[in-house]
């Protein structure tokens, strides 16, 4: 992936630099009848070229840059950190955050930073999904529980829910329903969860909104049985 990024950035560099060179050339001929429009065109070319390079950089995060650093991670702690990170956003957008964390949850075998990234993605998506929900009903529930040899996390919102055509493509790269989104958040989340040997899925709630579920393998502790 690193070498693909390199190969794509070379032509993008030529595109962006040519646009910059042409913009400089235009400074010599400001009386050109279309000077202003040409300037806008060149700015657009350069901006789109930089955007494409940005997409390449983000794509690289899909293929994990480094090997996962697996250790026992307390998922409840990661949830608490996530709540801390998103509480500012949540408050601004009138979203109530609720946590129902199972006490004595077994640790999961995970890369803490990666799991944090997945939780942040899900939380920010949930906030975005409730744009049209009346402020009083905007609520995200984080729930953890243990199911045998797995630990499950639920992120439930009261937003618009997931329509059928959307649900088929939800985790595909570059699929987005947001005006400003690249459509990589959930694709990256899935690649991270997959790399952990876990599962991520989504479903509509009985009431309003949708729920995202993550199941990660519990950290296998050798316990003396007896």
């Amino acid at each position: 992936m690193a070498s693909i990024a390199h190969e794509v950035k070379q032509p993008l560099t030529a595109i962006v630099s040519n646009a910059a060179a042409a913009a400089r050339a235009l400074e010599d001929g400001p009386d050109h009848p279309h000077a202003e429009e040409l300037r806008e065109i060149l700015n657009d070319i350069a901006a789109e070229g930089r955007l494409a390079a940005d997409v390449v950089d983000r794509l690289r995060t899909l293929s994990l840059k480094r090997p996962l650093s697996l250790s026992p991670v307390a998922l409840n702690e990661v949830v608490a950190e996530t709540l801390h990170f998103v509480q500012g956003d949540a408050r601004r957008r009138h979203v109530t955050l609720v946590a129902e964390l199972e006490p004595k949850l077994p640790a999961v075998k995970a890369d803490r930073v990666c799991v944090q990234q997945v939780l942040l993605s899900l939380s920010l998506n949930a906030i975005d999904a409730m744009e049209d929900t009346p402020p009083r009903e905007r609520r995200i529930l984080f729930r953890t529980r243990c199911t045998g040899d797995q630990v499950e996390l639920l992120v439930r919102d009261t937003g618009t829910g997931i329509s059928k055509p959307v649900s088929d493509k939800l985790f595909e790269p570059f699929f987005t329903t947001k005006a400003q989104g690249l459509g990589l958040g959930l694709a990256i989340a899935r690649s991270i969860v997959d790399a952990h040997g876990g599962r991520i899925w989504a479903a509509n709630n009985d009431g309003a909104g949708a729920s995202f579920h993550i199941a990660l393998p519990a950290f296998a502790e050798r316990r003396a049985s007896g």
Binding site: T13, S17, N18, A21, R24, A25, R50
Partner: protein, 124 residues
């Protein structure tokens, strides 16, 4: 054109980037020459020392970092600005340790590149 004006040397193995940067410097009123390889550039030093080198790291045969190392050893070696499509922080630290004045990730912010060149060439 003022033939005494300092020369900007571009070293990049990609012809499209060499062409684009030559155009950029020309329209910004600099004298610029471009070279495909580190060795071609080194050969040119006898004829004229550039005031500044814009150096890609990913070069055939002699890598850019090796050229940077050799230039650092020269007495009054030309200042170097590195441009690279690699995203490698360790490499960036090595280049800076070898004296590179600026370090640009491709695609390059051309206004910032021109400013970096101007700062070098305007320095007394």
């Amino acid at each position: 054109m003022d033939s005494a004006a300092a020369l900007v040397a571009i070293v990049d193995d990609d012809v499209s980037i060499r062409t684009a940067l030559l155009r950029l410097f020309r329209f910004a009123r600099y004298r610029a020459h471009a070279y495909r390889t580190a060795d071609a550039f080194l050969d040119s030093l006898e004829a004229e020392r550039p005031g500044c080198v814009v150096l890609d790291l990913h070069l055939p045969n002699t890598p850019g970092i090796e050229l940077l190392r050799r230039l650092a050893k020269l007495e009054n070696g030309p200042p170097v600005i590195v441009i690279t499509a690699d995203d490698d922080e360790a490499l960036e630290r090595r280049c800076r340790a070898l004296g590179s004045r600026s370090y640009f990730h491709k695609p390059i912010d051309c206004d910032a590149l021109l400013e970096a060149v101007r700062n070098i060439l305007d320095a007394p």
